[in-house]
Symmetry: C2
Subunit: 137 residues, 2 copies
Amino acid sequence: MTPTSSQSALSTEVAVRLKRDPDGLVCAVVQQHDSGEVLMVGWMDDEALHRTLTSGRVTFWSRSRGEYWRKGDTSGHAQYVKTVALDCDGDALLVRVEQIGAACHTGARSCFDDHDLGAVEGHFVSELAHSELTPDE
Amino acid sequence: MTPTSSQSALSTEVAVRLKRDPDGLVCAVVQQHDSGEVLMVGWMDDEALHRTLTSGRVTFWSRSRGEYWRKGDTSGHAQYVKTVALDCDGDALLVRVEQIGAACHTGARSCFDDHDLGAVEGHFVSELAHSELTPDE
């Protein structure tokens, strides 16, 4: 089920900047405003973004349930909006919030907790830095 | 153009946990590992994730160009991997990196810089806290 963004009260100024996927959605990265912790990723259509921008509470479009979902209405784990920014090409939002309790439905603070994939770590080695360190060699 | 994830060397253990969109992609949130700054959102298919997990450098699938894109190969603004985590439902990645220079193609440090949407701020008012503050009223 896809949302009905054409009926949204989202301002035209913002709406024209959105680059939506085929279902009319953009992804929304939710970050705890003071700690910087990335809590979760959700999805918003125009109306979910309109509600998020104007109500002080974060609302998503639930792709699995096909309905709007104001975070915390059933769990109590609400997200209070601090700032919302759109990225340079209009297909992602950064929503900085005050998260009450756990952001994840599992009870974890973040949806990314305890799901590390064991990546090989990369290291920057500056050739310029090397040449500066050994100018005479 | 969609990627060809079926040919990826990504481990089965990770591959079975991914919940891909119709184009075979999951979104990847890139965060500066020490400051917590959210730098950008990109997209990965199985092969881009495999390269990111095993090479120490972040690789995306470019939806606009229809090709793999190792961040920094043309700009010099590479992303060195610190950790990669998958979220609870398998459709988003959190990639913590050391970002060299600007993450955004505009030259901005973050793709979310200077794109604030002017949201109304929300405030948590705890009824419990109120009752605790005025126990006798």
